[in-house]
Each structure stands twice: as C-alpha cells, then as structure tokens.
C-alpha cells in the first residue's frame, strides 16, 4: 500500500539520534499492515568503513521493523560530485528521490516523513495501511505535534512501539500536546515535511524532489508547492492520524545554526515556483542509472557475512588465550597471530561494496590465502589484486589476479599492506624475540616500497570513475618498525595493539615533511 521514505546517515544528527530513530522506525513499522508496505531508508554518505545507520542500531529495532526496512546505501563516492556545492553531508532531495525511484511499484502511496516521527492512527483498530487504502487520490498532510524531549527520552521503550503509541494517546490529553499550527498555503501546516503522503504516480509525474535544493531546508515546502499546483488541493488527514515529533532542539543539529543557518532560497523554491514539474531533471532524478546497494536487516546482514567469511578460514581457538607483547625490545619482531588478526582485517572491509577490488601486498602466503577465503565467504565479488612483485604468494586462488603492481594500481578500490614475516610458521610463538631471515627482509623491502608508491600516488592513480580517496589498511603495523612508516603516509587513528590493524586515507600533509615523504614515496627512495 505505501512506501515510507526516510533518509539519514551514521552520524550524530541532533540530540540522542539513536533513540529517536529507533522509536520512529519501530513505530512506523507498527502501523503497517499490508504485505507490500516498506520503509525505505536512504543511508546517504556514511563513510565506507562504517555500517549504515540502521545497521548500527539494529539491535534496538523490532523484528517487524527489520522485516519491512530496505536500506539503500549511497556511498561517499556517489555523493562526491555534489560535495563542492554544499556544506551538508546528507542531501534530502537526492536521498528521497533515490528511494522513490526504487520504491515498490505495487504501492500506491509514498509517505515522506523523518526518523523522529511517530504516527498514531486516531482509531486504534486502523493501521496506516488501512487509512491510506481507503483514501481517494490526492496529496495529504497532517499537522505535527511536538513531544517534549524529556518525555520520549525518559518514558519510551524503543522496542515497544505499541506501548509508545498508547503512551502518546495518553500524553496528548494529559499534557495538551495536540496543537495544530496552521501555515500559509501551499504549506498548510508548520513542519509539513513530517507527513506528506502523495501518490507514487504523482511523484513520478512531477519528477520527484527538486535536486537543485542542496543547501538544506524547504524541500518539503517546495514539494508542497508543486504538489499543490499539480493536485489543486492540499488535503488533511487530521481526522485519521496524528503525527508526533520527538523534539530534539536541546542540542542543535548540524544543519541548524540559528539565524546563521544556510538554507535553500525560499523565494526561489517556494514563492516563485511556477510549475509542478522539474523538467531539467526529468530523466535523471533519483539517479536511475546509478547502482545503489540495498541492504536488509532481516537477512544477509554484515554479521552473517562476517561470520560466514571467517568460518571459511579460521577454526575456533583451542586454548583459553594466546599471548603477545608490545615491549620495546620486540620492536623488530614482526611475528603475529594470523587467526587472531584476520577478524580485525575483515572488520575493516565488510562494510565496503561487494564489488570492491582490493589490492593485497603481503609477505605471508597464509595471510593471502586466509584472507582470500574470508573475502569470498563474506560475499565479495571484486578481485584480489596481488602484485607480481610480491614473491612467494599463491597465484592459484579463486579471485586472485596477479599482474605487475603498476598495472593493478588503477584497478584497486582499497589496499591491504601486510608487514609480516614470510618465514613465520604456524606453530612458532609470537613476539618472542624472533629475528628476520634474509628473505623476510627482502620481501618487506618490496612491500615498503610498493606501499610508499601506492600511497604517494594515490590521487593520480585512482580508477577513472572514482572520486574519493582510497583506504589503506595496514596489517601488523602497531608498535613495530612499520608503525611510523605506515602512519607517516596514512592518517590512521591510534588503535590498540591487540587489533594488529591500522587503517585510514592518505595523509594530506602540505608541510615540508609531507612533501618530502610524498616525493620519496613516489620515487620509492
């Protein structure tokens, strides 16, 4: 019957976002009763190494919310062409249009709202699906009522949507929450964007949201203006459903700077609208040609993929614990425990697109074969690019492509540089003062040289269609001789030694030191 369209990203937009959003997702799912109903959440521009926002809070969502939610992930690289034009990190019009394009065509209605809304049918026996199913064609809005921050934060149980809706019915009366704030036409109400129900067919006819609105605010009013023109009327659903907003102004959100807030031009996008249509984007709205990843919370989750991948390559531990050490005298000892390290490496990659091509520059053959198994098990389809310059590594693994480093550089979406000892055996103790063999030194020298070249030339060797910097993962680069090498070039956080792994983007260091490092790296000095 209807597709709810929401957007956001895995950040901290406003006060206690996680609770607000969980309350809202669960409450929206609670009022759905048609098998075609869906919540489309566009996760816009979350960093690639983070899970999407709903994945980050999945444990607070009800089974029903997980079942009806489809997450459409817009990657930073897909947003990059818009980055110079806006101060915002998440764009409403683009997000909502990406979802609209991909919404269930069997659904008659599209409902635009936000991740802090609860919709309460006035007749407890009716679902929102029932309500929308009984409506004539049109464009419907409801007034927004506010819930004081204290109430939703203190009294709502995020996994009890039915209880929360019952509380709202009580609070509405007890605390006089229901105040209708009228507004000029075509807006009709204040805060109109928290409930705008339009026919899917109408939204396609008017070319979706206006994607030139990239400075934030007024997207809802623009939509109201255009749909009011198109439909002639803005109808109310106040008799059927009340909409409550979890107020979150205790802490200003990133797009709220008081009177200094930058926003889309009201005159242009509201008062001087001349047509329902946006012909300039008639073919392109919602990015129909762009492949947008879709994720689910009820199947094929990141955790399931992670465990499936690692199950292919490591066996459960047979001892209560293993030991290592970060004592300084072991600075030159590059042994590490592979079975312990692989989960941390997989953790670095599991949120990336499955089509990612990853370059592996390594010394340990068992690392490459172990990771290759995990990669495949996690459902990745992109190749593992292993430069021919790295000797002693397996060539016959499924998905592994061997070619000269220079050829592979422009194909890679991500890099792993592993600084281990080719001669380390499975049974030997870790960080016990082991010296390098000549062959270890020789291979590590190659890895270091390739690392410096890759990172120093990253910007100019990117795949042609790629617009954002590629991520570098360093394996076994904490508290050993490659720590400074790695962090001279890569802007990695300080990680615990136990994780064995650092990761980040190439440093943008314009100091003399940075320039020298880049020069040396470029020429592999």
């Amino acid at each position: 019957m209807f597709s709810v369209i929401l957007y956001g990203r895995n950040d901290s937009h406003g006060y206690n976002l996680h609770k607000r959003a969980a309350i809202s997702f669960n409450a929206l799912a609670e009022v759905m009763s048609d098998p075609d109903d869906e919540i489309l959440f566009v996760d816009y521009n979350t960093p690639d190494d983070h899970p999407t926002f709903p994945e980050a809070i999945h444990d607070t969502l009800t089974d029903k919310a997980k079942q009806v939610m489809r997450i459409l992930r817009v990657r930073p690289d897909q947003h990059a062409h818009l980055r110079p034009k806006t101060h915002l990190v998440a764009l409403e019009a683009q997000s909502r249009n990406v979802a609209l394009r991909r919404s269930n065509p069997r659904n008659r209605w599209i409902l635009y709202t936000n991740t802090d809304m609860l919709l309460v049918p006035r007749n407890e026996q009716e679902s929102l699906s029932d309500i929308l199913g009984g409506l004539a064609d049109g464009f419907y809005q409801v007034p927004r009522f506010e819930i004081p921050e204290m109430l939703w934060e203190a009294a709502f149980d995020r996994r009890d949507p039915a209880g929360n809706l019952a509380k709202l019915r009580d609070w509405a009366v007890r605390f006089h929450l229901n105040q209708v704030v009228h507004n000029y036409m075509p807006m009709k109400y204040d805060a109109l964007g928290d409930f705008q129900a339009a026919l899917r067919e109408d939204m396609f006819a008017i070319h979706g949201f206006d994607e030139s609105m990239i400075l934030g605010w007024h997207c809802d009013s623009n939509l109201a203006a255009r749909l009011a023109l198109y439909r002639g009327r803005v109808d109310t659903l106040i008799d059927k459903v009340f909409g409550y907003h979890c107020d979150h102004t205790r802490v200003a959100a990133a797009n709220n700077k008081g009177r200094a807030t930058r926003m889309n031009d009201q005159d242009k996008f509201i008062w001087n609208v001349v047509s329902p249509y946006v012909p300039a984007q008639a073919e392109a709205w919602g990015w129909p040609e762009v492949e947008i990843e879709e994720l689910r919370l009820d199947r094929d989750t990141a955790y399931q993929r992670f465990t499936a991948g690692l199950a292919k390559t490591i066996q459960p531990a047979t001892v209560p614990f293993i030991t290592t050490s970060l004592e300084w005298q072991l600075y030159e000892d590059l042994t590490y425990d592979l079975a312990h390290t692989l989960p941390f490496v997989c953790d670095q990659v599991v949120t990336f697109p499955r089509s990612t091509a990853i370059m592996i520059v390594a010394s340990r053959a068992d690392f490459v074969s172990g990771f290759a198994e995990a990669w495949k098990g996690m459902g990745f389809t992109g190749p593992l690019l292993v430069p021919l310059e790295c000797e002693g590594l397996p060539s016959d693994l499924e998905g592994v492509e061997r070619a000269p480093f220079a050829q592979q550089l422009a194909k890679a979406d991500m890099f792993i540089f592993e600084f281990g000892l080719a001669t380390q055996t499975v049974s030997e103790p870790v960080r016990a003062g082991r010296a390098m063999a000549p062959i270890d030194k020789k291979r590590l020298k190659v890895i270091e040289r390739l690392f410096k070249r890759a990172v120093a030339t990253e910007a100019e060797t990117r795949p042609p269609a790629r617009r954002v910097a590629r991520r570098f993962i360093g394996v076994n680069v904490i508290y050993n001789k490659f720590w400074t090498v790695f962090t001279d070039y890569v802007g990695a956080n300080i990680n615990p030694f136990c994780s064995q792994v650092l990761a980040g983007l190439p440093r943008e260091d314009d100091s003399m030191k940075g320039k020298v490092l880049r020069f040396r790296g470029r020429h592999a000095l």
Partner: protein, 352 residues
C-alpha cells in the same frame, strides 16, 4: 468529462468565505453558521463540509466531525475531472473555494511573488472564472515576465475566454522555448481547433501523442480521440480500462472508438447507479432513447457529450443525423472537450 466545474449557486461561496474569516478570527459558532448557510445553498460544497468538520473536531465532537470529513472526501471524489491529456490544473477535482480564498490571503501578504498569484489563478480558472484568473496570471507575469510556464497559463485563461488568437500567440512563445511541452501542445491544439484550424490542431495533438510515454495510456487515448485517431484511442482506452476498470468514461470512449473503427462490439456493462455518463452507455446498448439521454444531460458539458454520442450511434445508419448532432455540438460545445474536437474531425470527414 468536465471542462470546468459548473455549480454556481448564488451566495454559497460568499457564506463560505465569511465562515473562513470567522474561523480565523476565532468565532467558531459564527463560522459554523456561515458554513451551514453555504451548505444549505450548495450541499455539495465539500470545502465547507471539511471546514465544518475541522471545527467540530476541534470542539471535541469527534464522531460528528468524522462523518463530515468522510462526506467531504466523498463529494470531492464524485466531482467531474478533466481529461488527462490536458494541462495539470484541469485534471483535478474540487470547487477550490478554499484555495481561491487562501491564495488571495497569501498574495496580499507575500507580495511580488509568483506562486500565490498562479495558484490563485489556477483555482479560479478551474472554477470557470477565466477573467479573474487572467488577472492573476498577468500579475505573476509582471513579477517574472520571462517564465514560459506563466505565459502558458495566461494562454489557457485567454483560451477559456474565447480569445483564441491571443492564446495561440502565447502558446507559440512557450513552444518556441519548450518545443516538447506536451501540455502546451494540447492547449494550442484546442485553441486552433476552436478557430477551425483542424490540420494544425491535429498536428499539435499528433506531436503530443508522440511525446507521451506509453505508460500514460489515458492521456494517450484522449489525445488520440481528439484527433479522431480511433484505432489508437481504442487500444489506449483498453489499457486505461485495465488500470481503472471502474472508470466509466474509459468504457464509454473505448466503446465509441471501437464503434467508429468498426471493431466487434463488446457486451456493454452499464453501471448499476446509472449516474452520468451511464445514460450514454445505455444509449449505445439500445436501452435509452435520444430523448432520455438529452433529458439527463443537465449541464453544458453533458449536453456536448450526449450530442457527440448521438452522432456516433447515428453515423452508420444515418450520416445526416450524425452531422446534425455534431453541428449542434460545435455551435455550443466547449472547445476544450474531447467531443468537440472529435466532432469537428468527424464533420470534416463527412465533407461539406
């Protein structure tokens, strides 16, 4: 199908406006009385019904309010709607009494802006107040003289006023900026047809048909019907009917197109409620006479529709009778109606 809404009982809208003013000033009882008076004069004024519902709801009379909300929705849904090949503003249902009032308020407060003027104009135009609509559009054009979208609306108002030459000039300018603007092609076709420029009108509609996506079968069917392209209309009305089986007009028009192309007739299912345009289907089925049909054609639009169908049924056996019906139609019918264009094309085919 309606060219414009046709109910104009005197005084109802004035009472409605007075009610809104009282509502805004907090005089709930006074507002309710005004809405009651409006509804006594025009029981179908859904805008007054829903305003009344909101007041009752706010007073806590929830059950009474609920029934009124539903009544308003039912009234709106029963209102005639314009043909889907026309500009967006003609394709919607309503009296737009609220919109006329509301946008008038906006334009007096948000000055020198386009939207309040054009939304006001649109509401007026659909209500049949083309002269006032023209004034609104001209005010909008004073703010943004270079916007073809506004000029197109001005053209619509001119066309509704019968100032077809001026309308065509406006549409020409719009089309020189936006050659693929299907809605303006449709509008220019209507104005050209009104002036008897059949070939040019049909040319505009052919171009519009080329531009319309296959998925918009109803719009395609209607614009094909205007041109007298009954094969295309028959096919597209079939598709439209599959999407909207309850749309009696699609049934009627498909039947009409089929009859004019000589397609084998389908059994005619006449809706049980016998609401317009069911009498036209009954006439096709031989279950109603010409007099029955004309007696039920109680508005100018319905009369135009009736005359067209009388001609269609008569054509095979008595072309002279068909000609007589269609000539009468062309004398009095609104050029924006599909039947007007189809009748003119049929008359041309019959020859002088």
């Amino acid at each position: 199908m309606s060219a414009v809404a046709e109910l104009k009982p005197a005084g109802a809208e004035q009472h409605y406006r007075d009610g809104l003013l009282k509502m805004r000033s907090g005089d709930v009882d006074g507002a309710l009385k005004e809405f009651d008076k409006a509804l006594a004069r025009l029981p179908g004024l859904a805008d007054a019904v829903v305003a009344r519902a909101e007041l009752l709801d706010g007073l806590g009379q929830v059950e009474a309010a609920r029934a009124e909300y539903e009544r308003a929705r039912r009234l709106w849904s029963e209102m005639p709607v314009g043909a889907p090949d026309r500009r967006y503003l003609f394709r919607r249902r309503g009296h737009f009494a609220f919109e006329i009032e509301a946008y008038d308020l906006v334009r007096s407060n948000v000055r020198n802006k386009v939207l309040p003027q054009l939304a006001h104009g649109n509401a007026l135009l659909v209500r049949g107040k083309a002269k006032e609509a023209l004034d609104s559009y001209e005010r909008a054009l004073r703010v943004k003289p270079d916007r073809p979208e506004l000029l197109a609306l001005k053209g619509e108002a001119l066309s509704a006023l019968g100032r077809f030459e001026e309308a065509i000039q406006a549409f020409d300018t719009v089309l020189s900026a936006f050659p693929a603007d299907g809605e303006t092609l449709n509008a220019r076709g209507i104005a050209r047809m009104a002036l008897g420029k059949l070939a040019e009108a049909n040319g505009d509609w052919r171009r519009q048909l080329d531009l319309l996506p296959q998925a918009q079968s109803a719009a395609r069917a209607c614009v094909a019907m205007r041109q007298g392209n009954y094969e295309a209309a028959f096919h597209s009305f079939g598709l439209s009917l599959a999407k909207e089986p309850a749309n009696v007009y699609w049934l009627l028009y498909r039947l009409t197109a089929g009859r004019l192309t000589g397609a084998p007739p389908d059994p005619i299912a006449i809706p049980a409620d016998r609401q317009w345009p069911a009498p036209l289907l009954a006439f096709h089925a031989g279950q109603a006479t010409e007099d029955d049909v004309l007696a039920q054609a109680d508005t100018p639009c319905r009369r135009t529709e009736a005359l067209f169908q009388l001609g269609v049924v008569a054509l095979a056996g008595n072309p002279a009778t068909a000609r007589r019906h269609w000539e009468k139609l062309v004398e009095s019918g609104a050029p924006a109606l599909i039947e007007y264009a189809a009748a003119r094309n049929e008359l041309a085919r019959l020859g002088s």
